[in-house]
Symmetry: C2
Subunit: 311 residues, 2 copies
Amino acid sequence: MNQPDASAIHAFLTERQDEIVSAVEARDTSGRFERQTLEGERGGLARPAVFGGGDVFDRVAVNFSHTRGADMPAAASQARPHLAGASYEAISVSVIVHPTNPYAPTSHANFRYFQAKPQKGDPVWWFGGGFDLTPYYGFEEDAVGWHRHAKAACDTLGPQAYARYKAWCDEYFYLPHREETRGVGGIFFDDLNQPDAAACEAFWRAAAQTFVPAYFEILDRRRDTTYGPRELDFQRYRRGRYVEFNLLYDRGTRFGLQAGGRTESILASMPPIAHWQYDYQPEPGSPEAELARGFLQPRDWLGIADPTLEH
Amino acid sequence: MNQPDASAIHAFLTERQDEIVSAVEARDTSGRFERQTLEGERGGLARPAVFGGGDVFDRVAVNFSHTRGADMPAAASQARPHLAGASYEAISVSVIVHPTNPYAPTSHANFRYFQAKPQKGDPVWWFGGGFDLTPYYGFEEDAVGWHRHAKAACDTLGPQAYARYKAWCDEYFYLPHREETRGVGGIFFDDLNQPDAAACEAFWRAAAQTFVPAYFEILDRRRDTTYGPRELDFQRYRRGRYVEFNLLYDRGTRFGLQAGGRTESILASMPPIAHWQYDYQPEPGSPEAELARGFLQPRDWLGIADPTLEH
């Protein structure tokens, strides 16, 4: 196998979308998914599925897209300038889950495959993806469980993979103006095409298949926790940080909007409600203060990662 | 007068801050301003004044700052690369008013003065500023009155000034991913140092003194309009657009955060509550639909501006 099979990847990611939609529908019958199929150029398509107004989930967006282009934009190939102008295909699923209960964390995942055929030279391909967790109230049990799942998927690629991709995730999901990570991290990887197509795809499939068990285990543990206005206020305040990250820093969001992607699909990641409160300071020693202190700095959840490792 | 007097400008902008604070306090005794004086390097200072939780105003931020630096950052001098490394002073007031009543528009203003002393060559200075209005429900009377005030201030500089600065405002406060302006505009100008210091300063002072009468006249007309949950929901939805503009595009916000400015002061412009609703479409013919159609595209409110004019 010299190059992954795009049609098999298309089918695999379609299954992942359906699996996530089913996991949501199984837990929340009060809201509903709006599903669309939007045709793109050259046989490309987008299938957004967005859920709102439920009892368990405030908002869930699970977007599948398969893009085909004749002329790769410079922005998409910054790391590979020789690909500008190449014909390409990009296949991805993006997921965001904003649960209703403030004790249940928000989660994000993205799995993507890219291949391009430059006018000169060999075709190129790579995988990217990852998942990360953003709690409003921190639980070590959740963070450790999440990272154990991440590590198990990474170990299919090699013994260094988890440490590298964990560090990359901490670095990517960072808000310098707040001196905070977005949450407790997870894994993030891109440009993956080594050692060979079969090994990359096996790892990438394992990572994508990890999301549902890893996340819904935590959700199910937290979704029925009793909460009141205090927790809801804090959740909405913290969702302002999510908005800040996505609009100020997230490359997918910024490039997607700049490239003229469908705005409503790209911004389906926004929380339904976000609050900003001037100069808010949580009470020292409170669970709200503990979040920033104990959970929003890169931390070696499994006692094994080397956070100084270069990715 | 070869160069404006920085200490007179400092005093003038301090007065503008106090004037705006008084205009808010005179209308709303239920909330309060948090005022601070923060000392900066080399005798610089920042005086944020942020109001929250009132009956008439959800949030008001009026920030005065006087920054002094020994080594001008490259980002601040993009248009003037020979100033990189120069010693400089920047004096500004930034204002944002988010009223409670959805029929009353949000308003933003900024007035700034900049001077730098490069190691080689003459000192340079310039003025910048402007004000713009963001209604949730559109009223021609408000937009026309606002632009009349703007034009009166601009006419002190010359007959072309209003048309240029009105077009610049429409261009600056534009959300390409929504194909909308942020609101009905106003004026925006920067790098102003022609024809001479006296003329520039006179215009700039006139513009800064225009803000209070121009805005509070509209506010007073709308603040007691009866409204219900429908209008409040739409206001919060539209405030999501304000967040999108400030975090995705506003240079002051993005550069301020990148340059390590005080995050809480910079993000005091955020609305207290913003909502995102997936694929929201207002009912055709409703006032909510009329906003986008009639008020969020550049429009010649006074029947005189040439929107194609280059600034």
